[in-house]
Each structure stands twice: as structure tokens, then as C-alpha cells.
Symmetry: D2
Subunit: 159 residues, 4 copies
């Protein structure tokens, strides 16, 4: 999860590497499916890693979807689909921050999902730790985030 | 698409065969993902045909999902997820009829999606033809429904 | 509930009279809130009867709302808001028929709400009786529909 | 907007006073409608001030609604209804903070709504200022928040 228009080049690079790492581990990558920013970069990374990609789209068709989105869920709900992104993920990796991204993290924490904050500033980390407690983990690199997911899956196997 | 609890044995047999046919053609099967009725039978048929299955779940987790659902989208929206089933499908095949199913067909027609009515009675066919016009097609067998999908895809290729 | 663009002049006249009757009985009128068709006519009738009106809007702001909508609920969900129309109503009165309207009736029946079909044709009545059973009532005039609501409220008082 | 179970006594006192102030100014109070915490207290305050109250409920009926909720919108969407709370408000006043509340503030900022943070700690203020900029205002008392709303309405009249 992460910003669209307001993603930085660094956010997008990290998202591509993260998506590729997720795919190479055999996991499915799910994102909001827009054609730019963190969503697009993560999907492209996963395709580059020969993974399966799922996009939860805000529009009522898939015409503006990222090309790297294979399974396209069309919600017609605008940002209302953000809660579906959160609920459908076993674990969220969050790169970059904007209002839409913050709604996804908040919905995830409300529903008891784990959240890995990657490359976030101090204020963001302190805020989400305050409302999410132990469910919020902080990673400083893609490798560290992948390691956290592996450790999580050992304890919480996905059937 | 089709009923859960109220599905007849014939509905379930048709749904299994339809799901298998969809998979064998290389298409992705999407359903509401509950663990009984037409949704479950279609997913199991698709798995039997070595296909990929997607479920749009009504609950806020996937604990009650059909075991045959591979990609599980967790909406937390109850029957509010029915419109997502409709919007996310390139074409709907409808087996059996109940109130939830009728909402899916109605949403699909409102959004301009094609609907194939399989094994439906005269009242159902006449009602949906009345509100959906040419978007509603009637098939009398699984093979006929598969043929309709093939013809549709030739004209409307999925990217 | 009823069609927007495709409403007939007779649908709109009935909707205005129905909305006015609802208001004069002291009940709140809820509709989909668009600025034409049955939704708009019913809201205008309720205002004419000095009633309170509520609109469940499909857009992410209220700029295109019917002027007769007082309480404006902004969903941003498009036709996904139709289930909210159904769930939020103690009883639905349905005038005219189109795909969106059919989704509202279907959602209402799925959720166990009572539906009064007013001025509907034989196919529509038979279809919804088939999927909704005793929850579907048929009225031939606004007065008959108002009488049905009164009788319902005596047995199911609204707190 | 504000927490349910995790609201502090101070949050609830402020919410009651804020709800009453909103009502006395002739404005409609909208909340998430649960029967405890900030939602309930604000609704009760508004009733005490002879105002009109609207609740956007998460369940598929209104049985667990706050008694102080007059217009009850039944969404069946769980926390998915939080975006409707945000979109339907001309301005949000936020008392207390938890994951659900954070999703409402995030959705509001994403959609360009104004947010008044009342009685919030430094981390919360800094985080939302970071993602919301000038749309985020900070009030230190109910009177200050009411003054901000009045000033806003002068410039952005509600039709």
C-alpha cells in the first residue's frame, strides 16, 4: 500500500523491489491497482518476479487499471475500496504516506491486521504505534520486511 | 452466480460443470465464495478443471470461505459485495435464482454487463429481458453457455 | 424507490402523491436522491407534504442531488448505495421498474424487508413474488399503499 | 467522530458538549451511531440541544443503535461505513483517537473535507497536519470548535 500521485521516486523503487520480493517468495501481491505510484510499482515488481497480482480498483470498470494488474476486482466504490485492500491482506507493507494510505493502515489496524511500515518518518511511526500497538512493525529495508513476513507466516500459516 | 442455501441439486450439478468448463477454457472463475450452493459448486468445478478461482466474500475474514476459493477478497460488506461480483465479471452465468442472485443480475444489467441465464424458468427470463433487453441471453445447457462466452470474447477481447 | 431517467410521467405522478402521503402521515421519506425520475418526484411530494426527506446519494459529493433532499448521505459508492436504500427503509414502496430499482427490491427481500409494488406489470409482480414470497405486497393505488404501511406499523412499531 | 469502547470520560464529556453546541446552532449532527463512546455522547448532546441527529450504522439493522439516533442509515458494511461518515459531513469534529476514528479522518482529508481536531495530543496533530495540511484545524475547546464551524459556514454556505 502507498500513495498514487504523491509517491516519491524512492517510494516507487522500494515498492518495485518489495513487489518482486513478494512474488519470488511465492506470495500473491494485492494493491489498489491504479496506474502510477506505489500501487503500480509494486504490481510491476511482482510481475517481474513472476508472481500473481490482484488489484482492488476504485472505478466501475478496469480501463484505468495498472497494466500489471492481473486479477482485477472492480468495486465502483472510490476510496471506499480501501477497507477491502486492508481486509483482504494477510499483512500490509506500507511505503510512503498520504491520506488514502493512512485510511488503509487505519482500517487494517481496526480489523487486527499486521502492518509493516517501510521507510516511514518518525511522526508516522509514532502515530500508528499509538493507535495500533504491537500490530505495527517497522522495517528499514525490503529484506527486513520480507523477513518479517516469513516469520509471521510461520506462526500464522495461510491455508 | 446463483443461490447459496436454496440451490437445488440440479443447480449445483450445473454449476460444477459450468465451473469446470470455464477453467478448461483458460478463464478465471469468480463467485461469491460461500461454502455451499452454486458458489461453492462452481468453484469446485473450476478447481477440478485446473482453473484459477476468485471469491468476493461477504464477511470481514475468510474463515467461512469455500475451500475451493483461491484468491479471497474480504469485503466485510455482507450482500453489499454483490455489486462487486457483478462489476468484476466480464460476463455472468446465472444458475438458480434467489433474492441475492437477483441483486447480482440487476447490478450487472445496470452496469452494462452481459448475463447468461442458464436453466431458468419463464418468469425469470421474461423479467430480466424486460429490464435488461439484449444484454440478457438464455442458454439451455452448459455447452451452449460456454459457446456464448467464446463468441462474446471474440468480439470483446479481454486484455 | 423507482427509476431515474426511464421513469414514465405516470410513475412520477404516483411518486409525488406517494411522497406527499408518506409525509402527511408523519413518516420520513428516504430515496436515492437523484434530481429526476421517481426519486426526485417522491422527495418533492414529501416536501409538499411538509415531511422530512433523506437521500442516499451515489456520488462523492451532493452537487447533483435533488433539491428536495434535506438530509444528504454521500456514499461515493455509485449503485453500490442501493443496498443502503433497501436496508435503511422500514418498508419499500416501488414505483416503476429498471435494473437499479430491481437491485433495491432484491436487496430488500434478501434482508427481509417488506416491499409494496405499486402500479407494476404482471411479470414484475410474479418474479418478485417468486423470490420474495409473503414479503411482497401489491398495491393498486397510493391510498392502498398508505393503508398497507399503516397496517404494517401497527404490528411492527418503529421506535 | 471519535472512539467507541476506548473513549475516555473526558472524550465523552466533550462530545456531549460539542453535540449540544452543534444542535443549538441549528446544525444537524451526524455520527457513527453506536450506543457508547463519543458517537453516543455527541448524539445525546444534540438531542439535549433539541437538534436533529443522523447515524450511519455499521450493522444490517438498527437494533444496537444509540437511542439518541433519529435518522438511522443502515449500511451493513461494518467499518466500511466510515468513509460515508466522512463524505456526508460538511466538517468533521474529532474527539479522541483510535483506529476507526483515524480511518474517518483519513477518508475526510482524502476527499477534501475540513477536520477540526479537538483535545488531541501532539503526535496526532502532527501526523494529520502532515497528510492533510491546511484542511486540519486544531481547537482547544468546544467554543473554539464551534467558532471555527461558524467561520467556515460563512465562507462555504450549505444550501
Amino acid at each position: 500500500m502507498g500513495p498514487g500521485e504523491s509517491a516519491t521516486p524512492e517510494d516507487n523503487e522500494l515498492a518495485f523491489a518489495m513487489g518482486k520480493g513478494i512474488a519470488k517468495n511465492g506470495w500473491v501481491l494485492l494493491s489498489g491497482g491504479r496506474s502510477f505510484g506505489v500501487m503500480d510499482a509494486a504490481l510491476k515488481g511482482a510481475i517481474d518476479g513472476n508472481g500473481l497480482t490482484v488489484a482492488i480498483l476504485p472505478w466501475d470498470d478496469d480501463k484505468q487499471s495498472s497494466e500489471a494488474a492481473e486479477i482485477r476486482i472492480v468495486t465502483g466504490m472510490g476510496s471506499g475500496r480501501n477497507i477491502i485492500n486492508a481486509l483482504s491482506s494477510h499483512i500490509l507493507v506500507v511505503i510512503g504516506m498520504a491520506a488514502g494510505t493512512a485510511s488503509e493502515v487505519s482500517h487494517a489496524l481496526k480489523a487486527g491486521r499486521k502492518v509493516i511500515l517501510l521507510n516511514q518518518d518518525e511522526i508516522t511511526i509514532r502515530f500508528f504505534k499509538k493507535i495500533g500497538g504491537y500490530k505495527v512493525m517497522v522495517a528499514n529495508s525490503v529484506d527486513e520486511a520480507l523477513k518479517m513476513i516469513k516469520d509471521y507466516i510461520v506462526v500464522h500459516p495461510v491455508n
